[in-house]
Amino acid sequence: MSDVLFSSWDGRVLDNRKAAARKDAGAGVPTKLNGHQVAALMGWNGLVVTDAKADIPSLALAYLREARKLSCGECSVCQIGIDKMIDMMENMAAGKGKKADLAEMERVIKGVSELSKCNFGRASALVPVLDAIRFFGDEFQALAAGRKKLEKKSYASAVTAPCVAACPASLDIPGYIELIRNNKFVDSLNLIRERCILPGVIGRACTHPCEAACVRNDIDETLAIRLLKRAAADYDRDQGGSALGTPAKEKADKVAVIGAGPAGLATAYHLRRMGYGVTIFEALPEGGGMAAVGIPDYRLPKDVINHEIDLIRNLGVNIEYNHRVNKLDLEDLKRQGFRAVFLGVGAHVGTKIGCEGEEAACEDFVQGAEFLRDLSLGKKIEPKKKVVIIGGGNVAIDCARSCLRLGFKDVEILYRRSRKEMPANDEEIEHALEEGVKIRYLVAPVCVFMKEGKVTTIECRKMKLGEPDESGRRRPIPLPGSEYKAATEMVIAATGQVPDLSFIVDKDQIGVTGWGTIKADPVSYRTQIEGVFAGGDCVLGPATLIEALDAGNKAARSIDAYLRSRKYQPGISFKGIDVGRQRVEGYVATRPEEKVKFLDPAVRGGSFVEVEGGYSAPQAIKEAERCLRCYRLVVWE
């Protein structure tokens, strides 16, 4: 049986108030938030009631007051309309209501929804209030007639947006875009930093799922959210770089972080801001993790990462470089005064591709992540005539584009599925092709032949696509008899990475998954060992920078709760609710995205100069003006 008494979610009205048995509301109707049942909820897309005792006019007034906080006031109808609604409801509650009030409220709501400038005013601000008035009119009439008093209750509320919900770290994207629009680049950057402590890095190398979720895709094209973040970061750096605030009052407790990648840096930054003493142990001579040694300079210049790490160090985070933790010795860490440990060691070891010749130690048959790391740390790599790269992810593309820049004449990628299944970013693939990388689809390696320790030939087999596998992508099936040999001097295998957990002696104690990653709670980031937390690629397997930052942001809060013996309170999760949908009307004029310049493909070879340009400040402001500010609000009891 359904628990829904009434729902107008997404405009589908289900009224069980007089029904003998409650009909099911169907999927996507929010009756629970973070696993807790709600009695009544008002949100951007409707009203949901499960408890007959819920006071809808009180909820509506609470909703209006929260909406008032989100309304920017930059157009004359939304905020004033909300104010007028609040005034009318307060009047009604004070016994001064009129019979005509409800009709007047409906008129204001419809007008504001039609006339507002942004999507918040057009839908989220008042749509559910209209549902309340329409379907719970008796309660409002009773209020207007003085027969009913408003309950004095406190309601919970949360805010999201399609882009925010799509962002693994839930950045306040409309917020920082609005600050750019108002020419407040540094304020914008500080808002970004609350959840993304590597803004220049993420502004360049993020996979930006937010942009796929952008409502503007339905109108013209997405906001360039990633580039706007980069604009805020670059603007600040050009002005000399602002500091990261000051830490709270010093706390006596110390935390050890293993790995100075995005997850470790985010954890360290937030704990330091809370006043903890933090030391990061980093095996490599530089910080940034995969951002530094996994993404080549032409996509993400080193000085950008180093600047952002310097700011974190200036805050008082101690980073010990060239300090590989060979053995996780908790007793020793305790003796050094560390009360908690965060493991953010990443996933830096290439996985086997399962082809003959792989086991032989050969300098010309290398792992993608290793190749990029060596290159990044300054190893001299002599260009050869031909290199074959195996894999279809971003690491494969990064290897290929790096090889071209190193002077390799013939650079070929082999991928066992087709372009459609390729996990690398479309933009990256386009750039690679534009620069002269060749990609062969539906081909997998069988054997790599070597002579006198040098790669000479690769044997490959053609594939066809079968039924989708558990990843949802169509499974490649070998075509017997399609084998062919091709000469090559180098092979780079870039088919994935796993964490190097050799430093953990007792793997059963901490818990390791079948994927070779550390078992950690996805909400609290706790491992099975008390006081040890883990996040980022070493838990998720090779994932994105922004997911690693998210892990660090949350792990820091969880570690803080642990150290203070408090219960960790995770944020509100909108999982299972379609935040993309909204009942919105009105005309939005099309306006194309502001474009940035790219380095001419003809001059990219032989140079690791950054390929993508950034926005100038006026350009960034113009792009920011395209934001529809699709804040989604929910208020519930």
């Binding site: 989100l70 920017c72 930059e74 157009c75 004359s76 007008g111 039609e114 108002n182 004029a589």
Partner: protein, 235 residues
Amino acid sequence: MITIKIDGRKVKAKEGATVLQAAQESRIEIPTLCSYKDLSPFGACRLCVVEVKANGKWQLATSCDAPVKEGMEVRTKTDRVREGRKLAAELLYYRYPTTGAVRDIAKKLGVDVAEGKAGDHDCILCGLCTRTCHEVVGVDALTFMDRGPGRKLDQPKIEYIADACIGCGSCAFICPTGFVKMEDKGNQRTVWGKNFKMETCGVCGRYFAPVDQLQWISKKTGVPYEKLKTCTSCR
């Protein structure tokens, strides 16, 4: 040139023009408080709404920020347009009942405006001053204060950044309600509460521009300060 239809009439418009501009060129009157010909559209007052046919449906759209498109159909005189404009004016009047400029336009658009005190000059957040300062003057001394989740500002307002201001007075010139006050008294100009020393014209001897503004122009253009000390009438 692009041809669009306004109220059934064929109207020619320049590529990149807005519906508002196309209408104004054809002497079709559309009310507005926040648009100005030399500034980019902002869509704050919502008074300029018209109906635009999109996806086969007539939809309300602000004409100031809607670019013309070949074959576009626009209506400016329907009941829906009139009601929309009236509600926008009504809400402005609800917030600023004693501001003359608001009262005038509200009355014109059919709002029942009560007799009474009309001498106030509230800021209606039209954004004309911020856009002038950013786009025309180029100093960014005026911006909107930001509101949103986690930000504490209760009432939106314009932030004045005194250090950036050169005292040119463009904001006072463009302000539709008289909220931005500027006073010239002898060798001193006061705007947004900040005092500026005025320069005298080398020819006629009158005070004509703030020293800060001339210094800023000199720095920006490379023209020596002394050469700028002639007022527009004497140039």
